[in-house]
């Protein structure tokens, strides 16, 4: 028999009040603001427009050129993958040149 999960309430929820306070402040600010009428995106598929806008292929679409950012985010993703793999690698006894990340405890796990 297992028991159903219960919502854990207690004093550890107290810091959450800071989040609630932040929400009230932001809500108070936003609800008072008045924006002009929103402009739409014109006719046609928005997705297509996004693709054209990303590489500035169609000058009539108002956007910035994100070509350089596209390339860089590619590099960032590769770096993230490599980093994640490196962090997750289990240190072996015979692995040469590996960085020991065990916080100096010195024993193998």
């Amino acid at each position: 028999m297992t028991t159903r999960p219960r919502l854990k309430l207690g004093s550890h929820l107290l810091p959450g009040l800071a989040a609630v306070a932040l929400f009230t402040v932001m809500a108070a600010v936003f609800l008072q603001g008045n924006f002009p009428a929103p402009a739409g995106f014109g006719e046609g598929s928005v997705l297509r427009s996004i693709g054209m806008a990303m590489f500035a292929l169609e000058p009539s679409i108002p956007s910035a050129n994100f070509l350089v950012a596209f390339e860089i985010i590619d590099v960032v993703l590769v770096a993230a993958l490599v980093g994640a793999v490196m962090l997750a690698r289990r240190e072996g006894n015979d692995s040469s040149g590996s960085v020991r990340t065990d916080g100096g405890r010195g024993d193998d796990r």
Partner: protein
């Protein structure tokens, strides 16, 4: 060739050069620095003689500005300068002469006796000569104070010369501390004078006047230019004079600051001769004479000076009667004779005071050097009861010592008679008008009897009778380097009285008061006439008229008392085997021998009274002041200790703090920016 007064700084600079040479190179020299000192003081002596004759011809005193220490105009600037006038020329002569003779004597006393550490000794003597000569030539009170202190330091160094034994360092500390106690009041007085008058110069130069002149203007005219701090000018000047007197009493060993001088005899005898007989203790009296234009304005201060002087003369003379060691008798004699000088200055007898200063310097240095010769002969044993019959073995010493003793006792025609007689005469002339001075005169007169007694008790015990120990039978002989200064001083002790034989001048009508004439010249504010004018016009101190009968009567009275004292000593001690007659005084002798318990009293003051105050002050300093500083730092430490606990290491806490901070910022900016 420039006039000799241009070379006046050299008089003090030469001993300073010999100080440096003796200190650094003394150990390589054959006599360990003695020859450097002898040449330096001989040079200073020649320059002083030349200066003396130049001043004799000049009318105005010579002042020279050497160096400015602090050059602000308001409220005062501190300068070093030289003042050469009749008084300082005379004193320069005395100091350089005695200094030179002491250096020569030291060759015999220290070098020939095989003492060690001599470079330090000669360096100390040279430094002392430099500071004493600079003190004499000082042109303002601040500079005089500087060298007053330096002289005290040299005394400390020299008394404690044999510092590896117990007594000398203790005696040196006592001398320094007791004089320093007096100098504390002196310092306050100097600061007071600077603050009151804006200058501490003894003589006016160019645009500025000297402070005695300013004081006189304040009393006779208006007191606008001096700050008297809310007091009546007369009262304030008296206070200042008494403050400076504190230093004078310390340095010149007057009651109650006299306790250091007998203990200072722990130093080598040439040091005692130079410093504690002729020069350093004279510094106090010289200072009063230098500032006499200021002291003459305050009859209260003069009365106190005279009374203390007369009292000290009697007080010390009674203690000298029962001492066993020859140097102790001379030490108490010095205290007593300086009492006479203070009595003279207090009674308005400026010439008498300086005359006695001169003659005393000569015969007391002679007596100390003679005592040194005796001590060397007795293999450094000072107890008179172990001596006896030395006159046959040490004739030169005996005759010179006898000359000095006759001068000290005040027997005609030796120098001491003329000067002491003049002192007592001046005191009598004032005492007939004023009971305080009469009491001082009486005490000085009684002290004449005791002086004659203890002096000749000392002479008879040491030189007459049968030798009481083996050493006395065949004493250690010594050479001409010790005999020559004795002979020189012995001759001087006989003749130096000739410079001012007032009674003889009155009797014969001849003009024999050379010293009085010497002081009639000089800067207009530094002459005897001016001081007399101040005393009678400004202070209202009136002497009885100068009459021949009174002078001869007082002279005969003091001479009679002195001869009576000598006769009593002759009867009691000039026998082949004298006994200790002073034992018959019983408990009085105990009191006298223990110096009226003044030393114990002062130790009690220091330990019982001052130490407790000092302890309380120390507790205050460590508890309150240090506590405040430590408290400030502990606030910082404590605060840091507590504040660092924010770093709990739990990430969610940091996030919470971030959020709270963001909320607060937003609310603040919103309220200020009108978002709501």
């Amino acid at each position: 060739m420039a006039g000799p007064l241009e070379f006046a700084p050299a008089i003090a600079a030469l001993p300073f050069v010999s100080f440096v040479i003796a200190l650094f190179f003394g150990r390589y020299m054959p006599k360990k620095g003695a020859l450097a000192g002898i040449t330096a003081t001989a040079g200073s002596l020649l320059l002083a003689i030349w200066t003396y004759f130049t001043v004799m011809g000049n009318g105005e005193p010579h002042t020279e500005h050497l160096h400015t220490l602090v050059a602000v105009a308001e409220p005062f600037s501190l300068e070093l300068g030289i003042l050469i006038d009749q008084l300082s020329a005379l004193m320069l002569l005395i100091v350089t002469l005695i200094s030179f003779l002491v250096f020569v004597f030291s060759l015999g006393y220290m070098n020939d006796e095989g003492e060690t550490g001599l470079p330090r000794y000669y360096a100390g003597l040279s430094l002392f000569s430099f500071s004493m000569l600079s003190f004499v030539m000082a042109s303002n009170l601040f500079m005089a104070f500087m060298f007053f202190e330096l002289v005290g330091l040299c005394s400390y160094l020299l008394i404690g010369f044999w510092f590896r034994e117990d007594a000398p360092p203790s005696a040196a500390k006592k001398a320094f501390i007791v004089t320093r106690f007096g100098d504390y009041f002196f310092l306050i007085g100097v600061v007071g004078i600077l603050a009151t008058f804006g200058t501490s110069a003894f003589i006016g130069t160019g645009g500025t006047e000297s402070f005695p002149a300013l004081a006189e203007h304040a009393l006779t005219g208006s007191a606008d230019h001096v700050h008297t701090f809310g007091f009546d000018p007369q009262t304030w000047f008296t206070i200042l004079a008494l403050l400076v007197l504190g230093g004078v009493m310390g340095k010149s060993a007057q009651f109650p600051l006299h306790t250091w001088l007998p203990d200072a005899m722990e130093g080598p005898t040439p040091v005692s001769a130079l410093i504690h007989a002729a020069t350093m203790v004279a510094a106090g009296v010289y200072l009063v004479a230098r500032m006499y234009g200021f002291y003459a304005l305050s009859p209260t201060a003069l009365a106190i000076i005279a009374f203390v002087g007369g009292f000290t003369a009697l007080f010390a003379a009674t203690m000298g009667v029962v001492k066993r060691e020859i140097k102790q008798v001379l030490a108490y004699s010095t205290i007593s004779q300086y009492g006479y000088m203070m009595l003279a200055l207090g009674a308005g007898g400026y010439v008498a005071g300086v005359f006695h200063l001169t003659t005393h310097a000569v015969f007391k240095a002679l007596l100390f050097l003679g005592a040194g010769a005796v001590i060397v002969a007795m293999h450094h044993d000072e107890d008179m009861w172990k001596m006896g019959g030395l006159k046959n073995e040490l004739p030169v010493t005996y005759y010179t010592f006898l000359a000095g003793s006759l001068a000290l006792a005040g027997i005609i025609p030796f120098s001491g008679f003329w000067s002491k007689d003049e002192v007592l005469y001046e005191a009598l002339r004032l005492g007939l008008n004023d009971p305080v001075f009469m009491a001082a005169y009486a005490m000085g007169l009684i002290a004449v009897f005791f002086t004659g007694f203890y002096t000749f008790r000392m002479v008879f015990l040491t030189f007459h009778g049968e030798p009481r120990t083996n050493i006395a039978e065949s004493p250690h002989q010594y050479g001409w380097n010790m005999k020559a200064p004795l002979v020189v001083l012995g001759a001087l002790a006989v003749v130096v009285g000739l410079i001012n034989m007032a009674p003889l001048a009155k009797l014969t009508g001849m003009d024999l008061t050379y010293l009085h004439h010497w002081f009639e010249n000089g800067g207009e504010l530094l002459t005897v006439e001016h001081y007399h004018h101040l005393l009678t016009e400004v202070s209202g101190v009136h002497h009885v008229e100068n009459s021949t009968g009174l002078m001869l009567g007082s002279g005969a009275l003091s001479l009679g008392l002195a001869l009576a004292g000598v006769a009593v000593a002759h009867v009691l001690y000039n026998v082949p085997s004298p006994e200790e007659h002073t034992d018959k005084l019983g408990s009085i002798k105990t009191v006298l021998f223990n110096n009226y318990y003044q030393d114990e009293y002062q130790v009690w003051l220091a330990e019982g009274l001052t130490a407790n105050v000092a302890r309380a002050a120390n507790t205050f300093d460590q508890g309150v002041i240090d506590g405040a500083v430590n408290g400030v730092s502990s606030v910082s430490l404590f605060a840091g200790e507590r504040v660092r606990r924010i770093q709990t290491g739990v990430v969610t806490n940091y996030a919470a703090l971030l959020t709270v901070g963001l909320v607060v910022l937003l609310v603040a900016m919103g309220l200020l920016g009108g978002w709501f």
